[in-house]
């Protein structure tokens, strides 16, 4: 099966539903905020903003996109065709990751010119976008509507944010919370986002990539798989 037409149409839908425009608006806001900050502050904020492009936006937009499919009833028609759920979710995650990468690059260019490393940034987007998209999609399959998704995912959102909390306030948060943040699905992505703008030890980056891979696999098998099977049977 040629998945390119689905890839293209999913991107078209992201555009027509306004997700791509939302990325654009947020990128402009980020750029404006960074330009207003002193350079040291902007440099400190840059990894957080770049990381949030994948970790947060992939999470919310994958969920919203699945909710839209549920509302339009297109799942039934999609899954009686040879298209399999994993292809569907892969395409959604890939498209959102591409948008996130574009946004992160644009924001980086606006703040630092060419003084950033695109490869770690790309790894950060992949490492954050993959598990976040899959978890967002799986939760959307369970929660089913955009409203319930926005409210019901607040606890997950807070957990995904823990690496940033540690980054910004490690001396002031309890040790257990700092430790917990190292085991979140977005920790690996955040390490790579920092590596795009500053030196991070190779061992930490390897561990971060492995953790992101493990989270992606776990999210696929343990969360998304059952949710997709349940949705397919409904």
């Amino acid at each position: 099966m040629n998945i390119f037409p689905f890839f293209r149409n999913d991107f078209r839908l992201l555009w027509r539903h306004g997700f791509a425009a939302a990325y654009l608006v947020v990128a402009l806001v980020y750029a404006a905020v960074l330009s207003a900050l002193p350079q040291t502050w902007a440099d400190a904020a840059m990894p957080v903003l770049a990381w949030s492009d994948a970790a947060f936006f992939c999470f919310f937009f994958a969920g919203a996109s699945v909710c839209l499919d549920l509302a339009q009833g297109t799942f039934r028609a999609l899954f009686v065709s040879p298209l399999r759920p994993w292809t569907y979710f892969l395409v959604k995650a890939a498209n959102l990751s591409i948008l996130s990468f574009g946004m992160a690059v644009a924001v980086s260019l606006s703040s630092r010119g060419l003084e950033f490393r695109p490869l770690p940034l790309a790894v950060s987007v992949l490492a954050g976008g993959s598990p976040s998209s899959l978890i967002g999609a799986a939760l959307a399959l369970r929660l089913r509507t955009v409203n319930r998704f926005l409210v019901g995912t607040i606890p997950v959102f807070l957990i995904l944010s823990l690496p940033v909390l540690r980054y910004a306030a490690e001396p002031w948060i309890p040790g257990w919370l700092a430790s917990l943040s190292r085991w979140t699905p977005t920790e690996g992505s955040f390490l790579w986002a920092r590596a795009a703008y500053a030196a991070v030890p190779g061992g930490e980056l390897t561990a971060g990539a492995a953790a992101a891979l493990a989270w992606t696999a776990a999210a696929s098998v343990l969360i998304l798989g059952p949710a997709a099977r349940a949705a397919e049977g409904e």
């Binding site: 099966m1 040629n2 037409p5 689905f6 149409n9 078209r12 839908l13 027509r16 539903h17 339009q72 009833g73 297109t74 039934r76 028609a77 999609l78 899954f79 009686v80 065709s81 040879p82 298209l83 399999r84 397919e232 049977g233």
Partner: protein
């Protein structure tokens, strides 16, 4: 092409079975009507055959492959049009059709030709959100047949269509069957089933109450008689008089002939039963 034997299925957390020992088969080139009220088990049977529901007992196979083992090859042979058309509202009719067609291997029908045939050529580049229900129903059929499936599952395919479009849809269904497809048609519309189906099955409470061709069912359950209707002369507005004669020996029935010779003859009709009446007689309930 479709084989169903002693099919049973109960939804999780349900004490009763939605499908209770259903058996039927549909040959290539046959249009098979699956008729029954809401909750009878029609959709459940269809979803099992589409490979969407697992955990059934008995046999449900399409082209020799068990539905619980449905894979890409299985699904590529199947086309489905659901009762409520579901499309990407922000894509045009043509974009939707091309997208869904892209999931299937060649050969496929030309989307433009199919849309033209269904009277949607002018609306092809409009977003589906702007389509009327009838237009979505026609697009629904186009999506189901575009990859030339060997087995077609159609749920209320003429619902919400005007007579001309309903006829076009029936023609396309008959053409696909003539081309070798097995068509599994689920409907409440007995007249549509009568017009389109080679055989029908009445499903009630998860069981098949009767299964045969519409003509055979009508013969079996209809009354073998004719009614002569005439208008009595001499009255101001004309009183309608009806008289019934048994079909057997009708040619030699002098009373029948005499009735035909009387003035004011309006017509002669048989007392064939309709599928609605047969369903009511067999099941004791009406189709909603």
């Amino acid at each position: 092409m479709i084989e169903v034997k002693d099919l049973r299925f109960a939804y999780p957390r349900s004490r009763t079975e939605a499908v209770r020992g259903v058996e039927f088969s549909v040959e290539a080139g046959e249009v098979f009507g699956f008729l029954g009220p809401s909750g009878a088990g029609k959709s459940t049977t269809q979803r099992i055959l589409l490979g969407s529901l697992r955990g059934y007992s008995g046999r449900a196979s399409v082209a020799g492959v068990e539905a619980c083992r449905a894979d890409g090859v299985y699904r590529a042979q199947v086309g489905a049009a659901f009762e409520f058309p579901c499309f990407y509202q922000k894509l045009t009719g043509l974009e939707n059709l091309e997208l869904f067609a892209s999931f299937y291997p060649e050969p496929r029908d030309d989307p433009g030709v199919l849309l033209e045939r269904l009277g949607l050529a002018e609306a092809a580049d409009r977003r589906v959100a702007e389509y009327s229900k009838g237009m979505k129903m026609r697009l629904n059929l186009a999506r189901a047949v575009i990859h030339r499936p060997r087995v077609l599952f159609l749920d209320e395919p003429t619902s919400g269509l005007d007579p001309a479009n309903a006829r076009t849809v029936r023609e396309i269904i008959r053409e696909r069957a003539a081309g070798g497809a097995a068509v599994f048609l689920t409907t409440h519309d007995m007249a549509a089933a009568d017009a389109a189906c080679d055989r029908v099955a009445f499903l009630v409470d998860g069981r098949i109450a009767a299964c045969d061709s519409p003509a055979a069912l009508k013969r079996r359950y209809g009354k073998r008689a004719v009614v002569v209707e005439r208008e009595e002369n001499g009255t101001e507005r004309g009183t309608l008089l009806s008289r019934e004669f048994p079909l057997d020996g009708l040619g030699d029935d002098e009373a029948f002939r005499a009735e035909l010779r009387k003035p004011g003859l309006l017509g002669v009709r048989t007392l064939d039963s309709s599928l609605d009446r047969i369903f009511l007689r067999l099941t004791g309930r009406e189709l909603e």
